[in-house]
């Protein structure tokens, strides 16, 4: 089902002074036979790897060897000459040719919740406009009609620090959230030794199916009066939308629930991804992308608190452990997407809410640091092996190639073939761009 705005979107793309146009003509090798490859409206996908808590740039992608701020980790060579990562990311280093590193990110918010809002929406949560999270605006632009699977899925977000709201775009663009963590960071018990990432109760039970027709008939009739009485209530329309989609998801003909059955995958592959919620989340992301889901966010929210990268104490022990989990999940995702011909139509963004202080504190930790930090792009639409931006030798400031959140989001949009200046109307009728910044052309393919 092509969207109504397709012709104008194509025009807009032509005027985009970027080579992102390649997406509409690039060969796509479908992993699922038949239907997907034939779909003329098929577009790109996006996977956001969200590092809850704020990962340390100096101990991952912007190493400072030889400086006191650099810490004990060593650098290793990658597949790209001259590009070096932390020694704790060896498998990812092999994929450096598909990764672009942005080392000049500089933002202005150091509070977890507000910075999470900032990095997900491009705006601080101040004022009357409820800006949508990027998954909502990009999936809206990328999705092709209504399917049984929602076009935006969010995996294991830590809710207190999470900016997952579709904002003024409304509930139709809200993510399907699985295995969310609430305040105490508790997660469902693992099944078969792997993190459980299913939607509870989604398998329709006989008791429900037997009465579904009568129930839905009654439901539509009995709530009609209340809806008709309040025609201007957007929240009521949102409720209706969510229910219609939940019913489709449960009982639609496309067998949407199968996407979540990770047991269908070979055990060796599941293990390669890693048994935790991040590794299994990356595997789920691949299965969802394969089934046409436009945007998948996988949060790394491992551990008892739900925001593992917040390494105020004992940074190096924790980052070594977290890097191993990240390396397994992300590198396996790269390989898996590539083997299925999905990597060039899937763009990956890796980031957290801010970076961490170059100076190591008394507890061998690093604190919040939004002034100079890193994000990584990978896959479709990205100039692999590129590095943009440089920080000073002590890591405390951006020396050149400084970018802000708007530029990062504009770059992501451009990489997936969405014009960053695409506007949506806020509830006040004001047009709002998907991203306010300038795409970093140096990292775009």
């Amino acid at each position: 089902m092509p969207s109504l705005s397709k012709p104008s979107r194509r025009q807009a793309l032509r005027t985009l002074a970027l080579s992102a146009l390649g997406c509409s003509t690039s060969p796509f090798l479908p992993a699922l036979a038949g239907t997907l490859a034939d779909d003329p409206a098929r577009r790109r996908h996006c996977i956001l790897l969200w590092m809850t808590g704020g990962p340390s740039q100096i101990d991952t992608f912007d190493m400072k060897p030889g400086h006191a701020n650099g810490g004990p980790f060593k650098e290793i060579a990658t597949a790209v000459p001259g590009l070096r990562f932390s020694e704790h990311l060896p498998r990812l280093a092999a994929h450096a040719g598909s990764l672009a590193i942005l080392r000049g990110l500089s933002t202005k918010e150091g509070d977890h919740t507000r910075a999470s809002d900032l990095m997900h929406t491009g705006h601080l949560p101040t004022g009357p406009i409820r800006y949508p999270t990027m998954g909502a605006s990009l999936s809206k632009a990328l999705a092709r009609g209504e399917r049984d699977l929602p076009s935006f899925v969010s995996v294991s977000p830590y809710l207190p620090y999470h900016a997952g709201s579709p904002g003024f775009l409304g509930a139709a663009h809200a993510p399907l959230t699985v295995a969310a963590l609430s305040g105490s960071g508790q997660r469902p018990d693992p099944t078969d030794g792997y993190a459980a990432l299913t939607v509870d109760d989604a398998e329709p039970r006989p008791a429900y199916l037997a009465r579904q027709a009568t129930r839905l008939e009654l439901w539509r009739t009995l709530e009609a009066g209340f809806l008709a009485e309040h025609p201007q209530a957007a929240a009521l329309a949102a409720h209706r939308t969510v229910y219609e989609r939940a019913i489709r998801f449960m009982t639609g003909s496309e067998r949407a629930l199968e996407a979540f059955d990770l047991a269908q995958e070979p055990d060796a592959l599941r293990q390669a991804y890693g048994r935790g919620s991040f590794g299994q989340g990356c595997l789920l992301a691949r299965r969802l992308v394969e089934r046409g889901v436009a945007f998948v966010e996988v949060a790394m929210s491992t551990g008892s608190r739900g925001f593992p990268w917040d390494t105020h104490n004992d940074n190096f022990t924790q980052v070594a452990r977290l890097s191993a989990e990240l390396d397994a999940g992300w590198a396996t995702l790269m390989t898996d997407l590539r083997q299925r011909g999905l990597l060039e139509s899937t763009t990956i963004l890796w980031m957290g809410e801010f970076g961490r202080t170059p100076v190591i504190n008394a507890g061998k930790g690093r604190d919040h640091y939004p002034d100079a930090w890193s994000a990584v792009l990978a896959g479709g639409g990205i100039q692999g092996g590129a590095v943009h931006g440089r920080t000073t030798n002590d890591g405390r400031a951006v020396a050149d190639g400084r970018i802000e959140v708007g530029d990062l989001l504009a770059t992501l949009a451009a990489a997936v073939g969405v014009q960053p200046t695409t506007e949506n109307l806020s509830e006040m009728g004001r047009p709002i761009k998907i991203a306010e910044g300038q795409p970093v052309t140096a990292v775009l393919a």
Binding site: R114, G183, A207, Y208, R211, P231
Partner: protein, 490 residues
């Protein structure tokens, strides 16, 4: 841990604490005194006058008044966090007294459920990062303060002073394991309605607060070092030019300052939060973002209500009494448009606590309290449920529940036993119209209109066996529980 029911049980044992004898040093104990009525009415009429004048100035036509059924549903959700029971609706509608709305407000404010619900709300304000398991100490502590009718200036004082020594709940939840910066953020958010934590790393992006303001305030809660100057920071009131007197305990000075006339935020922040609790949005919105950058919808209204609260001995129940007596609170939701200056009541999705407690009412298989949902079988534990249905702070008017929540209500094993044991009011009914009316009262708090009754009778009439008719009644109940009307406060 089954948070809500357990707490209910605790309060059942101590039900006498809801209306304690007024202590000599506690002028704000909740019992009404002669003369109070006139003072409350005067304030309510003053709010009416201010809003009506503002509506007239802006050419806003207020919505029609709400029906009695909708008023009862609204005020029950707002004050005790659940929909009314069938018996409560029938009692209310059967009361011919002219002041029956006022009487129901008094009954709700006097119930233990009011303190419990306030505890849940204030935990959400003070410690939004923790939920039932970790945060029950905070919730229980606030519930007891509100339930006991402790004057609100003393509630704040107790928090700041690390509270009542030896109070296990309070010390565990409120103070222990919280750093000075976290406590500064929690206290300023809850009692001053400001987000000074945004100034932790740099000047507040929109408000006036600087890093010095933040660290000066954090210094009340423990020794802190300024991140830039590396100097040990001296405690300083928000907005003050100089540090406090170093010869006296700093926290004592903070406790005294909070509710003093020198602090412009405490009274305003509190009445604004109470307003938001009843009207779906604060006079300043969000309710914890007061400041010059975010002007109130009606400055005079906020100031006068704050003055009323301070002059009356910091009694939160009096503020709620006044607000529920205003014309604005009694308005309908109109056509559902976002309100303009409180000229219609916004339709507000039930929060997680309201939804849990209301489902307990709707699935009321036995008698007595919400804890009967547990008794009815394998009902969800409150902590599980609340974790699943939790809404983000500041989004109270948005419908933010998603597909997993809808699925849990439609198809979830959580509610299985409750579905089978349908409502006692149905069992007590003799005719099909009575049974259907009972289902409507139990879920959407009103009787069916004729067309709805006809639809339900038609569905029942298709069934030829007793078992089939029973399933059809369950279907009607299912449809009502999953309707938008159930999910929203009118």
């Amino acid at each position: 841990m089954n948070r809500l029911p357990l707490r209910t049980a605790v309060f059942l044992l101590g039900v006498a604490t809801v209306f304690p004898m007024p202590a000599a040093d506690d002028p704000a104990a909740p019992a009404m005194k002669p003369g109070d009525e006139a003072r409350l009415d005067t304030m309510a009429r003053r709010i009416d006058a201010l809003l009506e004048e503002a509506w007239a100035d802006r050419g806003i036509e207020p919505a029609a008044p709400a029906t009695d059924e909708r008023f009862l549903r609204r005020v029950s959700l707002d004050l005790i966090g659940r929909i009314p029971r069938v018996s409560e609706i029938r009692e209310f509608l059967g009361d011919a007294a002219a002041d029956r709305r006022r009487k129901v407000v008094e009954r709700l404010l006097a119930s233990r459920e009011h303190g419990d619900y306030m505890g849940a709300l204030w935990q959400g304000a003070f410690a939004p990062d923790i939920d039932g398991n970790a945060g029950s100490g905070v919730e229980t502590w606030f519930a007891r303060q509100f339930g006991d009718g402790v004057a609100y200036d003393r509630v704040a004082r107790n928090v700041v002073l690390g509270t009542a020594k030896g109070d296990r709940d309070a010390n565990a939840g409120l103070v222990a394991d919280r750093t000075p910066t976290e406590l500064a953020a929690a206290v300023s958010r809850t009692f001053l309605g400001t987000q000074i934590q945004c100034a932790e790393c740099h000047k507040h992006p929109t408000d006036v607060w600087t890093q010095d303001d933040f660290w000066g305030f954090a210094a009340f809660f423990g020794p802190v070092t300024h991140p830039t100057t590396k100097a040990t920071v001296q405690p300083r009131f928000l907005g003050a030019a100089a540090a406090v007197d170093s010869s006296r305990p700093a926290r004592e000075q903070l406790a005294a300052w909070l509710a003093s006339p020198e602090n412009p935020w405490f009274a305003r922040a509190t009445v604004n939060r109470l307003w938001g609790m009843l009207f779906g949005a604060g006079i300043v919105n969000p309710v914890d973002d007061l400041g010059g950058h975010n002007p109130p919808a009606h400055a005079g209204l906020l100031d006068e209500l704050a003055g009323f609260f301070a002059a009356g001995g910091w009694n939160h129940r009096d503020v709620l009494r006044v607000l529920t007596r205003t014309r604005a609170y009694g308005l309908s939701s109109g056509d559902g448009r976002a309100d303009r200056l409180f000229a219609a009541m916004p339709l507000e999705p039930l929060n997680a606590v309201q939804l849990y407690n209301s489902l307990a009412v709707a699935y009321h298989a036995a008698k007595a309290s919400p804890s009967s949902m547990q008794a009815a079988g394998r009902a969800p534990t409150a902590a599980q449920f609340l974790a699943k249905f939790r809404t983000a702070p500041g989004q109270q008017r948005e419908y933010t529940a998603g597909i997993p929540q809808a699925i849990a209500l439609m198809n979830g094993q959580m509610f299985d036993p409750m579905r089978v044991a349908y409502h006692e009011a149905v069992i007590a009914s003799r005719t099909d119209p009575e049974r259907i009316e009972a289902l409507f009262l139990a879920t959407v708090s009103r009787p069916p209109v004729d067309a709805e009754l006809a639809t339900c009778l038609e569905v029942l009439g298709r069934e030829t066996t007793a078992a089939g008719r029973r399933l059809a009644l369950v279907d009607i109940h299912w449809a009502l529980v999953n309707s938008a009307e159930f999910a929203f406060s009118p």
